[in-house]
């Protein structure tokens, strides 16, 4: 019994269904034409071998009314652009451009340009939407150009030029930034930059002047060629390669240098290793991963470690060294992780649904939820128990030096109850069975291995 992938419905020529553990792509006649052209090309074989494009095998039978069915390998974890760091979106954009250039050389094109067609597999971007390839028809422009600017280029410019994170915007508007919006965001010093003039301001102006006019045929008859697409692709690549972001010092990049971090690191790793041996999880979620040290400890056992943290600079550094390590990087505020959203509220699923961990690490994090985000300890534990897997948790008492910094401006009556160790332990007993515990040398922190009741 197969179920349609709720995020795969926009393209009438190709959509994905999930059949147990299998990922099946169903094609109509037009989709089949694209697949034939793609699968016959050397470009496709090379791109699959290089890990740039997902593999696909044509099945002998296709269910009615499909013209053909392909099977893809199942990816271990799906993440969305609003959970990526700057370098991830940049690498994905460069892959999109690289593949378009190679596809054109092979007589193919990519009919859309959305980062949702790219996934990170073992720390490297991979294009997963085989249905996006189709034969290039002479004289056709690049249909995905506008989408490329909205969902790749403008978010990158927003971070690199404006200094504002793109993730909240991409999460709020799944289509990205419009040219008009980006034009309004441009800082003065970039307003007369050639790329800004063309891709942002001129596109915004032409969009407002030429709405609702069909022009593809006119372009073709005016002599449009694939060389113009290639020229655009090369300029976009040079622009995107030149983009860097101001790695704003926000107090977290130097977090690992804090004394309690280095002091407790080996004890926490040892405690985690025991739990990893006991539970042998295939999937681990590291909540508040910071520099990813404990994600790496988990990944070294062969698990997929999903490192979640709200601080992009440290995660970006982690991503840049994550290739081949088994660590997947997710930018996320633990007090507001990605929800299910999009069309009908199911097009993009929640982070926790996609992660479905076998074990959760919550080291050095619950005091930020309790004292930073003002979430009652009972609610924090209820949420962790709801993950329905063992939780390796670090309790941090209100007497801890780091908590003192968090509550320095709060009066005692402004804090939730349940944070003192004895109160916290009774909450733990309500929701979990404690299978192991260890007090850290500071005395204000205790590690727990917990199983939900």
């Amino acid at each position: 019994m197969s179920t349609p992938d709720p995020g795969s419905f926009r393209d009438p020529a190709s959509h994905v269904v999930l059949d147990g553990d299998k990922v099946i792509r169903l094609l109509d006649e037009r989709g089949l034409e694209g697949w034939r052209a793609l699968s016959d090309s050397e470009f496709f074989r090379t791109a699959v071998a290089d890990g740039q494009v997902i593999a696909a095998v044509e099945l002998a039978d296709a269910p009615d009314p499909s013209a053909a069915a392909l099977e893809h390998p199942r990816l271990p974890f799906i993440s969305y652009p609003y959970e990526w760091t700057f370098s991830m979106l940049k690498d994905a954009a460069l892959l999109q451009l690289d593949l378009l250039e190679k596809a054109l050389a092979a007589g193919l094109t990519i009919k859309d340009a959305t980062p949702y067609n790219i996934q990170f597999v073992d720390g490297r971007p991979m294009f997963i939407d085989i249905g996006s390839f189709e034969p290039y028809r002479a004289g056709e422009p690049w249909i995905g150009y506008r989408q490329f600017t909205r969902q790749f280029l403008f978010p990158l410019l927003m971070r690199a030029w404006v200094g504002v994170p793109f993730q909240p915007w991409l999460r709020g508007d799944l289509e990205g930034l419009t040219p008009a919006q980006m034009a309004r965001l441009l800082p003065f010093r970039k307003r007369f930059n050639t790329s800004a003039l063309l891709h942002v301001r001129l596109q915004a102006r032409m969009e407002s002047r030429m709405a609702d006019r069909a022009v593809r045929k006119d372009l073709s008859e005016a002599g449009f060629t694939a060389d113009l697409i290639l020229a655009n692709v090369r300029k976009l690549r040079a622009l995107i390669q030149s983009l860097n972001w101001e790695n704003v010092e926000d107090g977290w990049s130097t977090y690992v240098e804090c004394s309690h971090v280095t002091r407790d690191r080996s004890a926490k790793a040892g405690f985690l290793t025991s739990a990893l041996q006991k539970y042998a999880p295939a999937r681990v979620i590291d909540l508040g991963a910071n520099d990813g040290h404990f994600s790496q400890v988990a990944a070294e056992t062969g698990a997929l470690a999903i490192a979640v943290d709200g601080h992009e600079p440290v995660l970006d550094a982690l991503y840049r060294q994550s290739a081949g390590t088994g660590v997947a990087v997710v930018v996320g505020d633990l007090a507001n992780l990605s929800p299910a959203q999009g069309w009908a509220g199911v097009e993009r699923s929640s982070l926790i649904d996609r992660a479905h961990p076998d074990l959760a690490i919550a080291y050095g994090v619950i005091h930020h939820l309790i004292y930073g985000a003002s979430i009652p300890p009972r609610e924090v534990l209820r949420w962790l128990a709801g993950l329905d897997c063992p939780v390796i948790l670090e309790f941090v008492s209100p007497a801890d030096e780091m908590v003192a910094k968090l509550i320095g401006n709060k009066l005692p009556h402004e804090l939730h109850g349940g944070g003192e160790e004895q109160e916290f332990r009774s909450l733990l007993d309500e929701m979990f069975v404690t299978s192991d515990e260890q007090r850290l040398i500071s005395g204000t922190r205790v590690l727990f291995a917990l199983e939900p009741r």
Binding site: Y145, L219, A222, F224, L228
Partner: protein, 62 residues
């Protein structure tokens, strides 16, 4: 002309020719003229007058 499932944006389609460089600017100008020039008499690039073009007609060969 049947569009794909994605809205490519009319202005964005013409713009990408402009981004392509000098050759593209000529293409963009021709496409723009044949689109916006329909139904109206507009001076051509050489300053000469063009015949009015019906909305349903194919753009004139040049």
């Amino acid at each position: 002309m049947i569009f794909g499932y994605l809205d490519p944006g009319t202005g964005s389609l013409i713009l990408q020719a402009v981004v392509g460089g000098l050759a593209g600017i000529g293409v963009a100008y021709k496409a723009w003229r044949s689109k916006l020039g329909r139904g109206a008499t507009k001076p051509g690039p050489d300053g000469g007058n063009e015949e009015p073009v019906e909305d349903t007609a194919q753009p004139a060969e040049s």
